[in-house]
Every structure is written in structure tokens, then in C-alpha cells.
Symmetry: C2
Subunit: 710 residues, 2 copies
């Protein structure tokens, strides 16, 4: 990792004006900061000449003392410039440039014993980050944030991609409306919608004059997640923090600071997807030796439970007590997925096809009545069901060169998980596991806390740190959405924290546009374990009676393309081995596609409509391309000018078949190979809800002889 830091600090002792202007490195963006006549700090942001954020106030309200909201004067201004380059442990690109101008404004409240607050701005060419900093100062050590009132006053009635402000779930489909139309009332709650005009971040907006604006946060540490309250008349957004069990928002100790509030802006949608602003605003890796962190593909005893072909639970009973139930005496239901023989089948499949690991859900006791009971003692994370032989599977997997991936479903009984976590991690190390998928289904214990509140945010971060110490990789489901912390904890490979492919199995599903929105929203903060790769799009064959979600809402080819359009260092091949075995030609793409990259090019993108992405494999002369569309069929021509000049590549194209359609004919696909080079213009034809996946490898001599040029 190489750092080039060019800092230049300027401190002025006296300010003739209460206003400051800052330009981004190439002057694309301009920030204005001003303390208004009420002593309220405000900021505004322009993209070239276009306003993006109109004058907006900055405020943090405190419990039992005056707020950091008004009566301020500027006490000090520090400004600097940084231009450095760093290399992520894994990711979409090999190197990331971190180039910004910084303005740190120290504000002082005369009426509150000259209490000080710092607002720190970092202005990039692709957006703005800013945060509140609470310096240690006499008489101000422990304090409680009652609310944060950061305004994002927008310039018009933008098109908005939003989900309701649920404190405990982000597993919603996106609504696309004008700001003025935002109303979560008709939407069925996943856990608990908090207010009708409250939405979550990352919030994606498009202005009427073609600007793309994304509002989120970076480095969510020791603070609740930020939601946004929408003023549907004035088009203003105001921050709303997820409450703790007491109703207060954050219990803090100075010196402390909030996460960065981020605004990514561009007039080109692909540039929003390419932005590294959120990663840049996070701290460098806290893990010194990262050699053990392995991006990976995996299969798992998982989808068969979602399609109701098998069960997580071993017995069919609805009253289990962890401390007293004798599991060996329960009557097996005969459908338990995590049995030794079945797991071996997945190990065999992974070994045969070169996938690194096998996730097994439902291996440990407690699944009979695990959910929705707000029960504290649910799982112990170390006791297998009688039909799951830990030692034998450890031996068998090792003999096949495959890793087993641990599963820690907590059912949101987090106190229980925390007190057992040390033992659970020791169990993992003793049995050869080096990665774990965690889960937080249901209501949180400590009761009254929320998934996205400060206490849980601290839990997720602490868990990532604990696991790093044990050299364990983690993939968190139902956690708070990501904010770039995978830079700091690169063992935190991914989270779910959005509506994944699984919803297609047992709900109304995900509309075809869903995967074209996720990269503009949830994925802005980091990788998602979306679990793509479902080949048996129609679910009938598995269990015709029980599947409520009758099919996945894409074509098969689009499932392949998702491995490229939705970046994650941990990607599941989510379908059953028997599904893949019927389409081994298509499965070849999943075998080939990497999970770590040297370079990424967003070739075309429009939120809610389409995304075309090309990526170069890490350390390899191979490129992969994914193109997806919403429910509309599309023809797109892509230029392969990202390829090095002159070299010829074999493009293996996995495309929607004739008359393919996500709903009526989703499983038809065609695979063809052609020779291409950097001058090639490749026409893509995407079916409704369809996609195309392409691998590009240097052409062999035989291929040069045999294949046609595109």
C-alpha cells in the first residue's frame, strides 16, 4: 500500500466573514459554508453552476443540555488538500485514489460556556463528505445525542429510489417516485415502519436536469444509522437517527465524532457506481496481516430450505428449551437439510467445480421454534443436530480441499450471541472453519434496541473486530447496511442488509428492476451477499405445493450477469447442485467468474433500468462483463475498448435465448463464442428481465483458428 499525502494546513486567527468557500480538486464541485444570523451553521453544494444542495442547516441536539444547533461563531478554520493512493485488500479495483480538499470549521457557542464543535468537510470531485466532531473540552465529556438535524435541502421534486424507514429491516423492494409522492403508508412492514415520510439511505435521486445524487453515510461507528425525513413540499431531507431502547439516539464520550454524511453527485450515472468516496472516508485496515482473507465463491445447504424442499429444523415441534431439550430424543422430520450425507453431496459438488466453500444452515440445534418468539436462549452455536457429524464433515471437507462455512443465526438474541461468541469462535477454529455467515432475524434482544441503533452498530463492528482477531471472515445478514467499513475490517466480506434473491422463493419476490437499483442504493456502502445464480427459475419442481414465491423474477442469463453487476468478494452459487448439473454449460460462467478484481468499468447504467459493467480479473488477463435490464427488453452495443490494443480474446457469451422473458420463458439461454478485440462493438440483446454475461479470455491458438470474429 502506497500513500502520497500532500497536506497543507492554513489556520486563520480572525475571520472577517462567517462564510467559507471550498472547491473540489478539479473544481467540479463547490461547497459553501456559512454561519447565518441566528448563528446556525449551514452549507450548500454546487455541481459546476448547478445547485445540488441549497442552504441547509447542520445541528446535533443533546439530552439535558443546549444543542449544538445555534448561537455559533467561527472560532477557527483549518483547510488542507490530500492526494493519496491506496490498495484495498480486495475489491473492484486494484488501487484507489483518495483526493480531496478539506475544510475543518471549529464553531464556538458563547452562550454555552464557549463549547466547541468541529464540522469537517471533505470535498471530492465526485461528492462531499462531512461530519460533526465533538472535541474533549472542560465540562463536556459524557453526553447523549437526542437527535441529529442535518438538512439536505434539494433543488426540486427529484425522482427518488427509496425504501421505508424501518429501524430493523431494509429488506424492501424500492419505490420509485417523485420526492413529493413519498409515503410509506401503503407498504407492508417487514418489521416496523417508523413514519410515513421517513426513508433509508443510501437514497438515490435524479434531478430533472439530469444530475444523479446519492445520499448516505460513511464509517458508521458508535452511532445509530441515519434515516431521512422527507419534506414532500419543500423537498428537504432531515436526518433522523435510529433510537435506542430509551428513545435517546447515541451515548457518547468526547472526543468523538459522527459518521460522515455523504453526497455523491455526477451528471453520469456510471460515475455514481464508480465512486470510491465512501471507502475513502473510512479508516485504513486495522488488520495488519491480511493474507488469510480470501474472497470466495460458495455453495450451500440453503436454497433447498428457501424453496421448502428441506427444513432448517430437525424435528417438527414448536416448543424447544435450549437448556433442557434432549435433541437425540426428538422425532426427526425426515426433511432436515443439514444432514451429513447431504452436506457431503455439496462438498463433492464444490470440490468438483472448484468452489472454495460450503455453507451449511440448520446444522445446530434450536431451529424448531427459533423465530418470532423474542426468546433469549435460542441457539448455542456449538451443538450440532444428531444427524450432523462435525468431525466427519471436517475430515471429509479437508480431504476434498473444500472449506465449510459456519452459520451463526442469532435470531436477533444478541445478548445470547455475545455471551457465547468467544466459545463459538473457538469451536470454529477447532473444527477448521474460517468464515461465518451471521444472521439477525427478528426483534433484537436487548429488548427495545433496534437493528440499526447505536448498540447494534457497536455489536456488528465489535463482531467484525473479534473475528479479525481470530482470523475469521464474516458475512452478516440482517445487519445494518454497510458504510464502507470493509476498508477498515476487510474480513467483513459482505452483508445482506437489503432484499436478497431469497425473497423470490417465498414472497411476492423482487421485481425485475430490483437488481438495477441495488448498486445505486445498498451497494454504495459495500458488498451485498445477494445470493445470485438461481438456474431453476421456476420453483415448481422442488415442492409444488409449498412454494409461495413461484419463481425468480429474472431470466437465467441475468442470474449469471449479476455476478458481475453486483460486486461482492463472497458470492454464492445459490442453487442446488442438481439444478446446476442440468446446465453445466451455463454453470461454467459461475465457475470462471472471479470475486476479486484489478479494474472495473461501468459501461452504461441507469438506476431502475439497466447496468452494464466490465471487470478485469485480479492478476489475470481476463475480463468479465455483465449486462442486466429491468422488465423491458433492450438492445445495447458495448465497445470493448477497455481491452488492451491488438490482443485478441475469446468472448464466451451467455445470453438470453430466443423469446426469453423473465416471466414466461426465463430459463432459455444461448452460449456462443466469438473472437473480439479492443475495437469490437458487441451488440447485446437483453430479454425482458434478462441479461448477458460474458467472459473474455486471451484466445488460444485453436480458438483463433476455429472461432469467428464478432
Amino acid at each position: 500500500m502506497k500513500y502520497i499525502i500532500a497536506g497543507c494546513f492554513i489556520t486563520l486567527a480572525i475571520y472577517s466573514t462567517q462564510a467559507q468557500t471550498l472547491h473540489s480538486p478539479t473544481k467540479k464541485l463547490t461547497l459553501n459554508f456559512q454561519v447565518n444570523t441566528a448563528g446556525e451553521p449551514t452549507y450548500q453544494l454546487r455541481f459546476g453552476a448547478k445547485p445540488v444542495i441549497k442552504p441547509s442547516r447542520l445541528a446535533v441536539l443533546l439530552q439535558n443540555q443546549p444543542g449544538f444547533d445555534k448561537g455559533f461563531t467561527i472560532a477557527k478554520i483549518d483547510s488542507s488538500a490530500t492526494d493519496e493512493t491506496w490498495a484495498p485488500v480486495w475489491g473492484e479495483v486494484k488501487q484507489i485514489r483518495n483526493r480531496y480538499k478539506e475544510l475543518a470549521v471549529t464553531l464556538q457557542q458563547a452562550a454555552a460556556k464557549n463549547r466547541r464543535l468541529v464540522v469537517r468537510f471533505r470535498l471530492y470531485d465526485d461528492g462531499l463528505g462531512f461530519r460533526y466532531e465533538f472535541p474533549a473540552q472542560p465540562g463536556f465529556t459524557y453526553f447523549t445525542v437526542q437527535e441529529e438535524k442535518t438538512e439536505f435541502n434539494l433543488t426540486g421534486d427529484h425522482k427518488t429510489f427509496w425504501i421505508p424507514g424501518d429501524y430493523d429491516s431494509n429488506e424492501y423492494t424500492y419505490s420509485t417516485t417523485r420526492l413529493s409522492e413519498i409515503n410509506t403508508t401503503p407498504i407492508e412492514a417487514i418489521q416496523l415502519k417508523s413514519a410515513p415520510q421517513r426513508v433509508q439511505t443510501p437514497l438515490m435521486l435524479k434531478t430533472q436536469d439530469g444530475l444523479y445524487v446519492n445520499i448516505h453515510e460513511a464509517a458508521l461507528v458508535n452511532y445509530p444509522a441515519m434515516m431521512l425525513d422527507v419534506d414532500t413540499k419543500a423537498f428537504g431531507l432531515t436526518s433522523h437517527l435510529v433510537p435506542s431502547a430509551t428513545g435517546a439516539k447515541a451515548y457518547l464520550q468526547a472526543p468523538e465524532h459522527t459518521p460522515w454524511r455523504t453526497i455523491v453527485v455526477s451528471d453520469k450515472a456510471p460515475e455514481v457506481l464508480a465512486s470510491k468516496l465512501i471507502l475513502n472516508l473510512n479508516e485504513p485496515s486495522k488488520i495488519a496481516d491480511t493474507g488469510w482473507i480470501k474472497p470466495q465463491k460458495f455453495v450451500g445447504v440453503w436454497w433447498e430450505m428457501h424453496v421448502n424442499k428441506a427444513s432448517w429444523n430437525y424435528a417438527d415441534t414448536s416448543n424447544i428449551k435450549l437448556a433442557t431439550t434432549d435433541w437425540s430424543k426428538l422425532k426427526p422430520n425426515g426433511r432436515h437439510g443439514a444432514n451429513t450425507a447431504n452436506v457431503k453431496r455439496y462438498i463433492d459438488f464444490a470440490a468438483k467445480h472448484g468452489l472454495q466453500s460450503v455453507l451449511v444452515e440448520g446444522w445446530n440445534v434450536g431451529w424448531e421454534d427459533w423465530a418470532n418468539n423474542w426468546k433469549e436462549e435460542v441457539f448455542d452455536f456449538v451443538t450440532p443436530y444428531p444427524d450432523f457429524d462435525v468431525q466427519e464433515l471436517q475430515r471429509y471437507a479437508a480431504s476434498k480441499g473444500v472449506k465449510l462455512m459456519m452459520h451463526h443465526e442469532t435470531s436477533s438474541s444478541v445478548t445470547n450471541y455475545e455471551r457465547r461468541q468467544e466459545t463459538a469462535l473457538r469451536f470454529m477454529k477447532e473444527h477448521g472453519y474460517d468464515a461465518v455467515k451471521t444472521g439477525y432475524v427478528g426483534r433484537i434482544i436487548p429488548r427495545g434496541e433496534h437493528h440499526d441503533g447505536q448498540w447494534m452498530v457497536n455489536h456488528y463492528n465489535r463482531t467484525a473486530a473479534n473475528m479479525a482477531q481470530q482470523q475469521i471472515m464474516v458475512d452478516m445478514h440482517e445487519s445494518v447496511r454497510l458504510t464502507g467499513l470493509h476498508r477498515t475490517y476487510p474480513n467483513w466480506l459482505a452483508s445482506e442488509a437489503a432484499r436478497g434473491n431469497e425473497f423470490n422463493a417465498w414472497s411476492t419476490g423482487n421485481p425485475p428492476e430490483h437488481e438495477t437499483i441495488l448498486p445505486f442504493t445498498r451497494l454504495m456502502g459495500g458488498p451485498m451477499d445477494y445470493t445470485p445464480g438461481i438456474f431453476q427459475i421456476k420453483l415448481e419442481p422442488w415442492n409444488p405445493k409449498a412454494n409461495k414465491g413461484r419463481q425468480v423474477h429474472t431470466t437465467l442469463a441475468k442470474q449469471l450477469a449479476l455476478y458481475v453487476t453486483m460486486y461482492s468478494p463472497v458470492q454464492m452459487a445459490a442453487d442446488l447442485p442438481e439444478a446446476y448439473e442440468q446446465h453445466l454449460d451455463a454453470f461454467q460462467f459461475i465457475k470462471d467468474v472471479p470475486v476479486d478484481w484489478d479494474d472495473t468499468r461501468i459501461l452504461a447504467a441507469e438506476p431502475g433500468e439497466y447496468i452494464i459493467t466490465a471487470r478485469k480479473a485480479k492478476g489475470k488477463d481476463e475480463w468479465y462483463l455483465g449486462a442486466i435490464t429491468d422488465e423491458r427488453a433492450r438492445r445495447q452495443t458495448v465497445k470493448l475498448d477497455f481491452l488492451p490494443p491488438k490482443a485478441r480474446y475469446t468472448a464466451t457469451i451467455y445470453a438470453d435465448g430466443k423469446d426469453a422473458d423473465w416471466e414466461k420463458n426465463p430459463m432459455v439461454y444461448q452460449i456462443r463464442q466469438v473472437l473480439v478485440d479492443s475495437r469490437t462493438q458487441l451488440p447485446l440483446q437483453l430479454a425482458p428481465g434478462g441479461g448477458t454475461a460474458i467472459s473474455l479470455k486471451p484466445a488460444t491458438k485453436e480458438e483463433l483458428r476455429k472461432l469467428k470474429k464478432q
Copy 2:
């Protein structure tokens, strides 16, 4: 342990009446159970012909479903009788007789799908225990208790010894008033008084016709503590459960049951103190091998902090972050008590005088700003201050045959303690500790939970169980008050959970009557670590400027007597070595007095006035006697007829000196030896706030020659 169980079960299929009568084994008490015309279950209790509890309703209200309160009919009645004897691991007596009549009434609610509730009564000659049982039944597995409405309708305006219904503290002085006068409003809150007419249990009452009634609970497991709401006009008490963070009271899973509600009754105050009803209602020991459990006396680096001669904290600063503070760089304040040299001084003292162990508080980092900040990361329980050498002290203590006692102050950040407890216990085992004093000062985290709520009750019990598994003894401070669970977890030696001697150091103190009330209230549930043995009654010599509590509110002799009147298997010699060294003649009693007994006789007692107790040392032909009084001087003559006939004993009498007075002249005492036997009538003269302690050992030949007969 010998069990003689004589059970006789009678089940009647049809009940011509909805009323049942049960007599205690020797018919001292009579219970009536009746379902009234509204289908409400009611009970009443008589002592001989005297009513104790008038008809009182039994009800448990549930969240989101009909309550277990009315519309009941009796579906089944089971009755039985038990008479068994068991031996406690340690205690006041060698053997305990458990003799009761039982009535288990199965109630059924036709309007609630024939839902069933069992009320189980156990009637002893010295009182009644009853509990609610929730059988597993179709459609009734997980449920939430909204409130319990158990009534104790009393027969008049009794004299009552009470403390306010604080959900988080029982460290109050007792108020003695009529029921009609109960009002907690003028009392300064220790944490949070919940309602003006709400009081805690054990609640001690005395009727105008001379009955002593004690109301409490036994076996508080997986349920909140019970408080009592007082109807000051009708003299009724109604149970009120301590709420969880959500306001609900208990999250339960059938089959489950509540703790036993207990009513101890006698016309003799000593019989209340001698009652083993609460212990009998608890489950037998869950610990198979109890050989490692050692009742013990200890000294500690402790009182010197309370009198402000030393500090818990190593540095004087008010802003510490556990994760980042470099303790070696803090400036020592020069007053840190837990330094290696000082601890060695205590080890030397303990070794010299045959005390088993040395408690050290303030040994671990974090004390600089540990309290009152509602901060989660306060202590880690494994990192010593720079001046506390763990290895050296381990070596030194072992070389002297003394044990160090660990201290885990949690500052009520219980989530933090739970996630570190496994490591903390491992640290103890690695460094030779086998006992720990825990502490829960401040507001609970998980925020919104209370010290006496279900979540914390589970924490205390889980902690006792975890420690039992590691063969660690525990003494819990600021925990919920005890309910006899030391029968089940005999490694749980004691709790504080009341106002201890420490309040004399830094507050208005404990009035002289305090220790005559505690055995009738707090100690009904189990041993208290009261920390008696303060010899330097006037605190001036230690630090004249800083001691707010200027003196202890007893005479020195009374401090000795407390070792007998307030039973605990773990007793501190709480004063400083230098205080004891000035009074080694009096200290001899503390050296001699056992902490485990074969027999106990309450010779005389009146709550709020006096207590005289004699106990026989475990496995030894020695007796000890303690007599204490309130602020009034008393003459009492005690018959030593508990001694075996004919044998002669040397009585060493530690009495208040001439003109002794708790306030004006507390430190004067006299020690004399006389020969006594079972016919001796020993006149005791107790000073105001005074007491007498006596050891009785078989007289040696020399003593027979030298000493006078009383």
C-alpha cells in the same frame, strides 16, 4: 443428604365445591382456597383462629391476550404431604426439615379455550408458599406477563418495616410506620423510586395482636422481582413486578412457573428468623461436588477507600477510554489502594491471623470515571493497574497460604461484563483466584433494564451457574435481593442487596436499629455481605477533611456481635489492619467466630429493637453468641440452656465498656472470661447502639482452676 419423602396424591375428578381447605402439618396454619362467583381464584390464611390474610385474589395478566385472572373453574386438585430432611452445604444449621402439605389446584378458563393455570400451595407450620404454574398446552407456548396481581389483604393497620420500591436499589434505611402511613415521597432516592405507596420485599409486619408476618418470595428465577403496592386505606398489598425495558414484565415459555410467594407467620419473632421456609422452597443444589466451596472470612483493600484514605482509581482524570487509554502514561495520584506493597500488607495480616482471603478492589484499570456515565466499555476485568503485580501477588499470597479474592465491578454495564465474563473467569483460574465479589453500581446496560427485572435476574443466576461450573464462589453486590437460591447454587455465598456498613463511611449512615431489622427483612432471603467489624468507629483519624459519614453508628462491641446476629458464610473483617492492631484483644473474637454452623438458636428478638442469637460452630464443641440493640440501652438475661448438660465452658465476653454509647463513646469495650454451663443465666448489658459478643469453648483445666463461675 438424606431424603424421607412421604407423598400421598389424591386427585378428585368432580368437585362439588369450588373451595378447598388445607391445614399445616401440626395444624398451626390453615389455608382456604376458593374460586369466587366471578371465577376469580382467592386464598386466605389463618394462624390458629386468627386471620392473617383475608380473602385475596390471585391473578397474572398477559400481554395481547386474556389474563389468568377470572372466568376460572377448578379442573383438578392434587394434594400431598412431604416430610424430608436435607443438609445444606453450609449454613446456620446442619440439617433442615422440609415438612409441608401441598395443594395444587388446576384452574381452567372456559372462555379462553379451556386454558389452564395451576396454583400450587405449600403450607408449612411456619408459613405459606404458593406459585403460579403455566403448563405447556396447545396454543399457549410463548407469552408475556404484563403484570402479576397477587393480593395479600391484611387484617389491620400493621406496624411495617419498609423501604421504597426502587427498581434498582435496596440500599435504604428502613422506615417503621403503620401501613396507613406508608409514603416514600419524602425519602431521597438511591436510584429511582417508582411510586409513593410501593415497597420492597421482604416486608416485615407486626399485627396489633402480636403476630409477626413476613412477605417475600422464594426461588426468583426467570422472572422479575416482586414489589408490593400498598392500599393504605384497606391495608391490602398487591404485587407489582419490576418492568423490562419495554414495560412488559416477563417473557416466558411454557411450561414455566413464577417464584414462590412466601408468607412466614408466627406469634414469636424469633421463629420468623429461624424459618427455613424460603430455603425449603428452593431447588436442591445443582452442584454435584461441593467440596471446593469454602465459607470464609476475609480482609480487603476496601474500607480505606470508603473512608477516603485511599482511592480505587490510580490516576485523577475524568475521561478514560478502555480501548485507547495508555494506563502506563497516566500520572499516578499517589493514593491508589490496590498497589502491590499495600496488598502484601493485607496478605501478611490475613496470614498472621488465620483469615482465609484478601479482597482487592481497584486492582484493574478503568476506575478513573467508572460510575454514573452510563458508559458501556468501563472495565475489562483482566488488565491490572501498573502498580498491581498480578503474578507477584499470586506467588506471595500462595506462599502465605492466603487466597486473593477477585473483584469484578461491572458499573452495571452488564452487556460488557457478559461478553468478557468467560475471559475474566479464565484469568481468575490462571491466577489462583477461586472467589469473586461482583458489583453493579449505577444504571443497567442494556439501557432501560433494571437491577431487579427479569433480564438481570437471569444474569445473576446465569453468573452463579457459570461460576459454579468453574468452581468459583461469588458474593454479589448491588444484585437483586436473595430468595434462597444459595440452596441451589451454594457457590453463591452472599449478596449485598441492602444498605451495608459502608453507608456509615460516606452518608448519613445506618441508624442503630438498622442491624436489628435486616435479619427480619433482607436476610430472610439469604446471607448478606454486610461487612461488619469496624473498630475505628470514629473515622476522623483516617482522613478528617473528606469523611462525610463521620462515624459508624454502633459501638465496637456491637460490631463483633454482628458476626453472630447476621449470618453469612463469607464475612469480612472490614476495618484496616492498623485499626485491628490497636485492639488485638477484641479482634480475637473475629478470629474465632466461625462462618458455618451446626445449630442456631434465636434466643430473643424484636424487629427494630434487639436480637440475641446463639450458634454452634460446625463440627466443633463451641458456641457463639451475639446480642445487639437499637439506640436504646438494654439489660437482657440469657439462659445458656442450649449448652449440653454438665459440661463447663469458658465464656469470653466482649461487652460494651463503661458509659459506652454508639454516638458519644462507641469504642470503649470490656472483655472478661467466666465459667458457664447449661444452667447459667448470663446478664447482658447493652449500651445504646451497643452489643455483646461471646465465645463459649469447653473450659481447659487451667481455666477451670482460674476462672470464676458466672
